[in-house]
């Protein structure tokens, strides 16, 4: 069986058999010896050349969350069509989304304003705390989709930025 994922703008193709133990797994065509065993609902033990890891996994729609050694890695499971599009993308457009249900307190930029990587662009309030969301690139504001005082859902696009 073949599975395809995107992680940090890289595409990976994994070939995985149906057996649990001593399967050879192929990543991007390269074989790696590995065996694995489900040890709890969402917990796997993976052994590769003696090295042992316990890994938490959770499939959430098209995303797979993988958790080990304290860190969460979000891998996007992609289809054939997306895979080709993904290759062509990286257009330098970024959207600032609300990370949780919140209220827009202050919009710090106007459309066309220049922004620097890490510069605050909008302030939202949630759980009684105000948070400044920061630009993820050097560039300018191309669109503002909300107004101050708006209540927004998790994932709502607040602004669009484009890189220089």
């Amino acid at each position: 069986m073949t599975y395809t994922f995107r992680f940090e703008d890289q595409i990976y193709i994994i070939n995985l058999g149906e057996e649990d133990i001593q399967t050879n797994v192929e990543i991007n065509g390269k074989k790696i010896p590995v065996e694995f065993k489900r040890i709890d609902e969402n917990l796997y033990s993976i052994i590769s050349e003696g090295k042992s890891l316990s890994v938490g996994i959770f499939k959430n729609a098209k995303r797979v969350d993988v958790f080990f050694e304290g860190n969460l890695y979000e891998l996007e499971s992609i289809s054939e069509r997306q895979k080709i599009a993904g290759k062509a993308s990286d257009s330098g457009i970024q959207e600032i989304k609300s990370p949780m249900p919140s209220r827009v307190v202050k919009i710090l930029k106007n459309v066309g304003d220049g922004v620097k990587l890490g510069e605050g662009v909008i302030v939202v309030e949630a759980m009684k705390m105000e948070s400044e969301l920061k630009s993820t690139l050097d560039g300018k504001v191309t669109e503002i989709k909300v107004e101050e005082g708006d209540a927004v859902e998790s994932g709502t696009v607040l602004l669009s930025l484009s890189s220089n």
Binding site: I14, F58, V66, V105, E132
Partner: protein, 498 residues
């Protein structure tokens, strides 16, 4: 001893109090909001009553409803935990009038220490060192003048505040007005009171606090210090006891000062006197918290004294059975607050369903939590998942134990700060004890996971997909699932893509 106690709180502190009651042979009454019906504190209490919608104002802050449940269930006392009604003098007063014991200090002590301006005066009278600042709450106009007089950097603080809310650091005059507005707005929404005061900002201080405990017979003792310097958003995230910056002479001095303040308000129960300490070891009074503190476990671990149990015994009128010289410090304890939050996004809360949780355990590991697989972190409440506390003989081995425990922790469904906590524990400066409240700001590298070998994650992700596919197959009883068909298509064309 009391026969029955109502716990006017939720989450891990409610569970903590229920366990303390069990150990004292006291029946427990839980109250819960809509969102908390599936919470562990409800399941573990002997009785449980619904008190309203999820918004705290309509449930955990609804004084009358809580008093009504106490009367209906014949609870003799109420433990408020922290947050919510814990420092609400009006509630303490109501309890008193209804003949219900409020497990905490007198309404008068709460009032005196609750108003930060009054608290400063009391500290001044008790000859406790204070940071320069405004004499009480300030208007917008005054504020600017005073800020200039005491000199930047300046801290704006909510008069009714606590827990870092309504607090803003201002480094120069240009930013003052905006910060003042934000501080007032946060203060208003958090405490219903937008008055603020000003203080000189001590550059990169340590946050050191002294745990005190007093009975109703006039004895007040201290249980040494906690260091809570590692903070994000002005809120503590890692605490330890003892502090590596404090020697036994300074420890004694700070303890005495803390007891002096507590005596000035005839304090009863558990309380915390907070100080900031500059690079030279000068310490200044910050505030007194008239309640149990989130980070109380580290003190319990090094003293062997169960603070929550003692709060209850003191409220019943018992005398402290030990004196200052009986209290011994043993080993080192570290607490990490495990949050559903995103360190890469300025630690913004990450509410959601905890699909799977596996907490570490074993020698010297204490996990104070109310979470199980399937629990929900809602935006109504603090997004804490657990307090992970470790004890070991030395600071060095306690940190190693914490690293081992954090690596065992698995949480799925929300973002967490576990990786961040691990990176702090592995940081050389932290390990040397070279910490202050500016620590996280100085180390932005701690916020992002290092690049890793992605191979295990890819294998795991493929396993997750295979699982889902197998399960879907079983459910649908079809010989070939859509996943399989899709995968076959992909397999055919994959050579074109690499």
């Amino acid at each position: 001893m009391f026969n029955k106690i109502l716990i006017a709180n939720r989450g891990e502190i409610a569970v903590r109090i229920i366990r303390a009651c069990n150990e004292l042979g006291i029946e427990t009454v839980a109250v819960y909001s809509d969102a908390d019906r599936p919470s562990l504190h409800v399941a573990l209490a002997n009785e449980a009553y619904h008190i309203g919608p999820s918004a705290p104002g309509e449930s955990y802050l609804a004084k009358e409803k809580i008093i009504e449940v106490a009367k209906r269930s014949k609870a003799e006392a109420i433990h408020p935990g922290f947050g919510f009604l814990a420092e609400n003098e009006g509630f303490a007063d109501m309890c008193e009038k209804e003949g219900i014991v409020f497990i905490g200090p007198s309404p008068e002590s709460i009032r005196l220490m609750g108003d930060k301006v009054t608290a400063r005066k009391i500290a001044q009278d008790a000859k406790v060192p204070l940071v320069k600042g405004s004499e009480g709450a300030v208007s917008d106009v005054e504020a600017n003048v005073i800020a200039k007089k005491i000199g930047y950097p300046v801290m704006i603080k909510a008069s009714a505040g606590g827990g870092g809310k309504g607090m803003r650091l201002v480094r120069n005059e240009e930013d003052f007005e905006g910060s003042l507005r934000m501080a007032r707005s946060e203060a208003r929404s958090s405490f219903g009171d937008d008055s603020v005061y000003l203080e000189k900002y001590i550059e990169n201080p340590r946050h050191i606090e002294i745990q005190i405990i007093g009975d109703s017979h006039g004895k007040i003792l201290h249980l040494f210090e906690r260091e809570c310097s590692v903070q994000r958003r002005h809120q503590k995230v890692i605490e330890e006891a003892p502090s590596s910056a404090i020697n036994s002479k300074l420890r004694r001095k700070m303890g005495e000062v803390a007891v002096r303040i507590a005596k000035a308000v005839s304090y009863r129960g558990a309380g915390t006197v907070e100080f900031i300490m500059d690079q030279e070891g000068n310490f200044y009074f910050l505030e007194m918290n008239t309640r149990i503190q989130v980070e109380h476990p580290v003190t319990e671990m090094i003293t062997g004294i169960d603070i929550v149990r003692w709060m209850i015994r003191i409220a019943y009128g018992e005398k402290l059975t030990f004196k200052q010289s009986d209290i011994k410090m043993n080993g080192h304890a570290v607490e990490c607050r495990v949050y559903a939050e995103d360190p890469e996004m300025n630690f913004i809360p990450s509410p959601g369903k905890l699909v799977y949780v596996r907490a570490p355990s074993g020698p010297g590991i204490r996990d104070d939590s109310s979470i199980l697989s399937g629990s929900e972190i809602t935006h109504f409440y603090d997004p804490m998942i657990s307090k992970l506390i470790v004890w070991s003989e030395t600071r060095e081995s306690a940190i190693k134990k914490m690293i081992s425990a954090l690596r065992e922790y698995i949480v799925l469904g929300v973002k967490t700060n576990i990786g961040f906590l691990l990176r702090v524990m592995n940081n050389e400066e932290f390990q040397k004890g070279d910490i202050d409240t500016g620590f996280i700001d100085r180390h932005p590298d701690l916020l992002t996971p290092p690049s890793i070998d992605i191979k295990p994650a890819l294998v795991a992700a493929a396993l997750a997909m295979r699982n889902a596919s197998n399960e879907a197959e079983i459910a649908k009883e079809k010989p070939v699932s859509n996943w399989k068909l899709l995968s076959r298509k992909l397999a055919v064309s994959r050579n074109n893509l690499l």
